[in-house]
């Protein structure tokens, strides 16, 4: 890439923000069509039950009600919910769009009611009478896969969806040579993604044109279009999916949901537009959840802390059915279980368990935060066991920069990295050595400071098609319009990541225009070329590269035209300030608009050249990218309450080259906050009957501004060799790097109490118990009064 740039790499403010801030953006719920009907779902209050009968008569005759449908009424007309992941020996767990005969989680849709307005609809939902015969639910994944548990799906009599095993290196030898074996159970609790905008679908069918248009708050418009066509048996060329503004997804909208198919079906069936917008309660119950794994680790190490081999056994709670990528996510954890370390031998066993809960699937980080959390906790466990500094243990096990591309025993090849450099920078920026001194001093006063490290590597820019269930390329068409404006049509579907800005920066840079001259269009399958979507931190690395290549194609074509018009060698022309300049002959130039005009008017084109200015690229990456970084977190624990306060956060991230540092910082900040959520607050709790008892925001705690420290972000830059932009992706790095840093800090703070591990979320009562139930022999003296008083002053409102 060019060294001196005008726009690329500059912190331009987001083009998309003014409309969002001014309330001028349109979400699904803002769209109104003439004659539009409203749909709502009757959902099971039981986690596991047989449906004895559904009496829709009362609802059917209620005022304003147009129709009430159950599984019986759509039988054979809507296919099952698709799952794109196929693993060896995976058992079937098909999910009908409306529960058929049996419900398997609280919130599963049993019937759909359609009414003329939302009020009539809501009243009618209460009138549908469903008679259930309750069955014993299986809630705990380990119990689910043990003998005698009730069975969810007949093809899987032991509730095991699949077993995924991987072995690399000589694990037996590793354990034989070990000076020490370290064991720990580490949990990744279940999380609710809680996008600010819940899901929503609006569908319209035009019988004359035979076109079905579906507006959905989704991350994957094209895949949804294809899947809807398949589920509904509709010709794909008649289906159009549009994603209006999407108010956050975090993976929860990287899916094909029953509601999307049912609403589309209803629009066709009833001949009127139909809309459904999820309530927050539905969002909790029936939009995918994230994480939910039980990890057991055994690590073989030398007495100096060198890793010889690691065994992992992970039970992943998949929930009751497979959504689009449900079974795949835990395997991504598997691939990344070596972390950023040299692990000579590894054995991994992952068991996917079926339970009476909502499906888990991709949630920001999708499998990698789990892996990073496991291995980063392990590094600290090793350090604690050997009484060594956690930074030293990490450094000891890093591969060297010259070792890249680096092949792991899990079968992936890391593209490029310098882990030492990012760790050094994080330690230096956080004042690590000073922090340790401060910690020792405060401990003597009965104050508990904790310093946590995490060094991570993740897998991004998903990815080469060979490794992706539904293709891993991305597309872009760039069109230079006759007036000189540029339209970039991307197959990716950004929803908050800021590519309307960063792609415009690229367009402006390459064609010598301003970002205002470049408009980015996405999320309309009728307007943009087929694409894969936005997830797995791929928008820029894969989608951006497609746009970049299309831009280069057009620049080359314009150079050809200009060279022809100017009588110059096209190779020697440069673009800037809306003109095309000759490098060789002083200030000779022509307006870009002249070259563009020539392309459209087509009278002065070089012989044989096609008119028009339109270029499309389908970019296939040769590998994933592997961003990395080092995070340092400092916490203080209130010994009286167990409250954890985040004092300081320093993040060093390496996402390769950067198109817009503001966007990168925003992604890192947001990611860290979501990690704070997992580490300290969030937890989707199902009770023993399978009821989600953190079913709304009064009980499901999200991190709030007041709980956050000042976040310092720094970068190292190690360009990726797998795409010409040298970018890696940064959408998930924060969640991946930060979760273990926070928990490591909490555990570090509790070291004087003999604590070696704390499960997430680090809830105050959990911590308080650890501090107050510490074995008396090791318990430090009671927190000093002075310290307690200082705490009181700070905390009292």
């Amino acid at each position: 890439m060019a060294t001196a740039t005008k726009y690329i790499g500059k912190p331009l403010k987001r083009k998309e923000d003014p409309r969002l801030i001014h309330g001028l953006a349109h979400y699904v719920d803002d769209l109104v069509l003439a004659g539009m009907l409203h749909a709502g779902f009757v959902r099971s209050p039981h986690a596991h039950a047989l449906i004895k009968f559904v009496d829709t008569s009362k609802a059917q005759s209620a005022p304003g009600v147009v129709a009430v449908l159950t599984a019986e009424d759509v039988r054979g007309q809507i296919g099952a919910v698709p799952c794109a992941a196929v693993l060896p020996d995976m058992k079937a767990a098909p999910r009908p769009v409306l529960a058929t005969g049996r419900v398997r989680f609280v919130g599963e849709a049993v019937a759909v009611v359609i009414a003329s307005d939302r009020y009539a609809l809501r009243d009618a939902l209460d009138l549908v009478d469903v008679d259930y015969e309750s069955l014993t639910p299986v809630v705990d994944p380990e119990k689910a896969i043990s003998k005698g548990a009730p069975v969810l799906h007949e093809p899987s009599p032991d509730n095991v969806a699949y077993r995924w095993e991987l072995e690399g290196g000589d694990i037996k030898k590793a354990f034989k040579q070990a000076d020490k074996v370290i064991r720990q159970r580490i949990l990744n609790q279940r999380l609710v993604p809680v996008a600010m905008e819940p899901r929503g679908v609006l569908a319209e069918y035009k019988p004359g044109e035979k076109t079905l248009t579906v507006w959905s708050s989704t991350q994957i418009p094209h895949l949804l279009k294809t899947q809807l066509a398949a589920m509904l048996g509709a010709p794909e060329h008649s289906v159009r999916v549009i994603t209006p503004e999407v108010g956050g997804g975090f993976g929860s909208k990287l899916n094909v949901y029953p509601e999307e198919a049912v609403i589309a079906h209803l629009a066709m069936r009833l001949g009127r537009p139909v809309k459904w917008v999820e309530t927050r309660r539905e969002n909790f119950l029936c939009t995918i959840h994230g994480r939910d794994q039980i990890g057991d680790v055994e690590a073989a190490v030398t007495k100096d802390g060198v890793l010889l081999g690691v065994k992992w056994r992970i039970v992943a709670d998949l929930g009751a059915y497979y959504q689009l990528l449900t079974p795949l996510i835990p395997t991504l954890t598997g691939l990344m279980l070596a972390g950023c370390y040299k692990v000579p031998a590894i054995r991994i066993e992952i068991i996917g368990a079926l339970t009476n809960k909502m499906s888990t699937d991709a949630y920001r980080g999708a499998g990698r935060p789990e892996a990073t959390y496991y291995i980063e906790r392990l590094m600290d466990l090793i350090a604690a066991e050997l009484k060594k500094d956690p930074a030293e243990i990490r450094r000891k096990n890093f591969p060297q920069p010259k070792d890249f591309p680096y092949a792991t025993p899990t079968g992936v090849t890391y593209d490029s990295a310098n882990y030492q450099k990012s760790l050094d920078l994080a330690l230096q920026k956080s004042g690590y050595a000073k922090l340790r001194k401060e910690q020792a001093k405060l401990r003597k006063q009965g104050r508990y400071l904790g310093i946590g490290l995490s060094t991570y590597v993740e897998i991004c820019a998903m990815g080469p098609s060979s490794a992706m269930p539904a293709g891993g390329w991305e597309s872009a068409t760039v069109r230079v319009e006759p007036t000189g404006k540029v339209t970039i049509l991307t197959g990716a579907s950004p929803h908050g990541q800021g590519q309307e800005t960063s792609f415009a920066q690229m367009g402006a840079e390459i064609l010598g225009l301003t970002p205002d001259d470049v408009h980015v269009v996405h999320g309309d399958t009728a307007a943009v070329p087929y694409g894969i979507g936005t997830f797995g931190s791929r928008g820029t690395a894969v989608g951006g590269t497609a746009a970049y290549k299309s831009l280069i194609k057009l620049r080359d074509k314009l150079a050809q035209i200009a060279g022809h018009l100017m009588g110059e060698d096209p190779q020697k022309l440069v673009f800037g300030d809306g003109r095309i300049w000759s490098k060789s002959a002083g200030n000779k130039s022509i307006g870009l608009i002249e070259a563009i005009g020539a392309a459209y008017v087509a009278k002065t084109l070089p012989p044989g050249m096609e008119p028009g200015l339109d270029a499309t690229t389908f970019f296939e990456p040769s590998n994933f990218t592997f961003p990395f970084g080092a995070h340092v977190c400092v916490v203080e624990i209130d010994a009286e309450t167990g409250d954890v306060r985040l004092l300081k956060y320093v993040a060093v991230d390496d996402c390769g080259n950067v198109l817009n540092p503001l966007l990168v910082e925003g992604q890192v900040h947001g990611g860290i906050v979501q990690a704070v959520g997992q580490a300290m607050f969030e937890e989707a709790v199902y009770d023993e009957h399978g009821q989600l008892i953190t079913g709304e925001l009064m009980d499901y705690a999200l991190p709030r501004a007041g709980a956050l420290p000042w976040m310092e972000t720094h970068r190292t830059v190690t360009p990726s060799p797998v795409n010409p932009l040298g970018v890696k992706g940064v959408g998930e790095a924060g969640t991946i790097g930060a979760t273990p840093a926070i928990i490591n800090a909490v555990v570090d703070a509790l070291a004087p109490f003999g604590v070696r591990h704390v499960d997430m979320p680090a809830k105050r009562e959990r911590i308080w118990k650890l501090m107050h139930e510490a074995p008396p022999r090791r318990a430090p003296r009671a927190p000093a009064k002075a310290a307690a008083r200082r705490q009181a002053g700070r905390r009292a409102k």
Binding site: Y119, M698, D699, Y700, A701, A792, R795, A796, K797
Partner: protein
């Protein structure tokens, strides 16, 4: 999130509101700030057939001083209480408590009367209302009656208010010299409500704790006076040790609540911690050593 159908009334006067209440009996609900009632209605956990909105009614929204007491209209919002210069000068405990409630939006809508009438076991005000030994005035078509705060709260979500009654005024004392008060709270991380909230009011005379009142919310099904704590302190000279020891009694004899965010045991322990913190601050303020 749409409530069941209801009939909406917006009376212009207290008399009209009382007439409506009489007419519709227990099928009616009063609407104040709506920040407790409307969420329940939207979830259809509450489905009153008649909603009587007190928001259009004039004369229940005031804070004024009357004979050494401060009278507060039931419809006064949390934000008004938080920012009232009269309260900040003469009864800052109430402003401090209001500031600890929810977020700005909640404080702009929610009312003192609504919060007290609702008697959520985790609401903040009840602790301070008890510690201030406030008086609650209730109107009905039969007339007016007043009860002490200590008698007002009966049980979880249940108060002295009878069908047909409206809580109209809350009277709190203006705190004199030598008196200090403080509200300390451990917030529930999701909702912001009190896991434990303790309000302490102390009056120092000749270096001794002459008067003392401690109100505790969040711990049990209803807010209560921590009389065991008060008894352990009354008439004694305040010391760090004494306060800490007395605070240990904060949850004695209380049926402590348990939920996802705090077990009964933890709640009781935190009651002691926050009682001590509130007492320390109140004493410091009474002594004029710290704000």
């Amino acid at each position: 999130m749409i409530p069941a159908p209801f009939e909406y009334h917006a009376p212009k006067s207290l008399e009209e509101a009382l007439r409506l209440l009489d007419r519709h009996g227990d099928e009616a609900k009063l609407l104040a700030g709506g920040h407790s009632l409307l969420p329940m209605m939207k979830l259809r956990l509450a489905a009153p057939r008649f909603v009587i909105d007190l928001g259009r009614l004039k004369g229940l929204d005031y804070i004024r001083e009357e004979q050494g007491m401060i009278a507060i209209g039931a419809m006064t919002t949390h934000a008004e209480i938080e920012n009232s210069s009269l309260l900040r000068a003469k009864c800052p405990l109430l402003s401090e408590t209001a500031a600890a409630i929810g977020d700005v939006q909640v404080r702009n809508r929610g009312t003192l009367g609504g919060s007290l009438a609702h008697a959520d076991p985790a609401a903040d005000y009840p602790a301070s209302i008890l510690a201030l030994e406030a008086q609650m005035t209730m109107n009905s078509s039969m007339g007016v009656r007043a009860v002490d705060a200590a008698e007002f709260f009966l049980d979880m979500l249940t108060t002295q208010l009878r069908p047909g009654e409206i809580l109209t005024e809350i009277r709190v004392p203006a705190l004199g010299k030598g008196t200090g008060a403080a509200y300390c709270k451990l917030s529930q991380p999701a909702s912001g409500y009190a896991v434990v909230g303790v309000a302490a009011r102390v009056t120092l005379a000749a270096g001794k704790l002459a008067q003392i009142a401690v109100g505790v919310t969040g711990v049990g099904p209803k807010a209560y006076r921590a009389v065991n704590v008060e008894d352990a302190l009354r008439g004694k000279k305040a010391s760090e040790k004494l306060l800490a020891e007395a605070a240990r009694h904060a949850a004695r004899g209380v049926e402590a609540l348990a939920d996802l965010h705090a077990s009964a045991g933890y709640r009781s322990e935190m009651a002691a911690v926050f009682t001590r913190r509130a007492l320390e601050r109140a004493v410091a303020r009474a002594a004029g050593t710290k704000a």
